[in-house]
């Protein structure tokens, strides 16, 4: 009883805070400060049509590097945490069998989902989307494949290689920014050019970096899913 009362009290106080915040909120009528700078100079400085991508990959690329590190750490901790013993590795997952619909649909959909994921991260600087979203779409294709066939094996060494190579390449391109551009993780390199605005080969190294990020995120999330899948092994 006391517990329910305390919960109600916490929620009511949150409601009170949010009510006052909501009432005192005045919507913006124009862009100010740093947002105005990004909006005005984003196209000429970075060359990306999608200004969110320009902010994420170029202006605030340190944040993105931290993000990639956090995802890597998550995958590493989960693989450490759900590690199986030698004998458990030999076991299989007992399941009730998957439906014919799911099996047939996954055969059709998985390649298309992979393709769509690749499309989303290749066009990250032009359309909504980018590396993280594309990687998540690729990982959802893996989920579908695992659900259709729970005992499917995912080639671990391929995942590890894709993940490590793309991670190292992102940092190397960042270092190239010191040598040829304005600083670490700068996307406008001397001699590389910005390209024609609004085309797929534009915005300096942003498409390259976002593709690598997409591959890395896709591989990492697939790795996490593989860990979840393997920890279901019973007999």
């Amino acid at each position: 009883m006391l517990r329910n009362f305390l919960i109600a009290l916490v929620l009511a106080s949150f409601g009170f805070i949010f009510y006052n915040l909501y009432n005192s909120y005045e919507p913006h009528t124009e862009l100010t400060g740093i947002a105005a700078h990004y909006a005005e100079n984003g196209a000429s400085e970075v060359g990306a049509a999608n200004l969110v991508t320009a902010v994420v990959i170029s202006y605030r690329s340190f944040d993105t590097l931290g993000e990639i590190t956090i995802l890597f750490l998550t995958a590493a901790i989960i693989s450490f945490f759900l590690k199986l013993s030698k004998e458990d590795e030999e076991k299989v997952i007992i399941h009730r069998g998957t439906s014919e619909l799911l099996k047939t649909a996954s055969q059709l959909l998985v390649p298309i989902m992979f393709l769509f994921g690749i499309y989303v991260f290749l066009n990250g600087h032009l359309t909504p989307g980018g590396g993280f979203q594309g990687g998540a779409i690729i990982a959802s294709a893996i989920v579908l494949a695992i659900m259709a066939n729970p005992n499917m094996t995912i080639n671990h060494s391929v995942i590890i290689w894709v993940e490590s190579l793309s991670g190292v390449s992102v940092v190397l391109i960042g270092v190239l920014g010191i040598l040829l551009g304005g600083g670490f993780l700068d996307t406008t390199l001397d001699g590389y050019g910005l390209g024609e605005f609004g085309t797929i080969f534009s915005a300096g190294t942003i498409p390259v970096i976002y593709s690598l990020v997409g591959l890395k995120v896709g591989a990492e999330l697939s790795n996490i899913l593989n860990m979840y899948q393997k920890s279901q092994k019973e007999a």
């Binding site: 909501y22 862009l31 999608n50 902010v55 998550t74 759900l82 032009l126 980018g130 993280f132």
Partner: protein, 126 residues
């Protein structure tokens, strides 16, 4: 009642989701339900942040044909604030990492006791 503008609707729904998420985290007994409530809380906060960057009558921060018709063809008058959206992108990815860690922990707990009810885990309770 006057019609709310988009930014205020987003703010309102975001706050509601935050409260629903908090309720779930505090009230639910099943670990999976707690994790789901946690993601609802996360989504609510993300929605509030995106809604704060909304400027009335403007379009997404992507420079293409959709901004041609605006005043002076100036990007500054056509788009919403891109900075909160970029921050939310980061927040979503970190939320994903936290959720996957929570799920891994739930799996480990289930293996230990064959139960997902939080009341069954009373080893540290005195």
């Amino acid at each position: 009642m006057e019609i709310l503008e988009l930014g205020k609707i987003g703010l309102l729904i975001g706050f509601l989701l935050v409260i629903v998420g908090f309720w779930g985290v505090l009230q639910q007994k099943n670990i999976i339900k707690i994790i789901v409530s946690f993601t609802i809380l996360n989504t609510g906060i993300n929605l509030v942040m995106v809604a704060l960057g909304y400027v009335k009558g403007r379009t997404a921060p992507i420079i293409d044909s959709s901004i041609d018709g605006v005043v002076d063809n100036n990007v500054l008058n056509a788009i919403v604030d891109p900075v909160p959206q970029a921050l939310v992108l980061t927040a979503i990815v970190i939320g994903l990492g936290v959720t996957s860690l929570l799920l891994a922990y739930a799996m480990k707990l289930f293996k230990a006791k064959k139960s997902l009810e939080i009341n069954d885990f009373n080893d540290l309770k005195w």
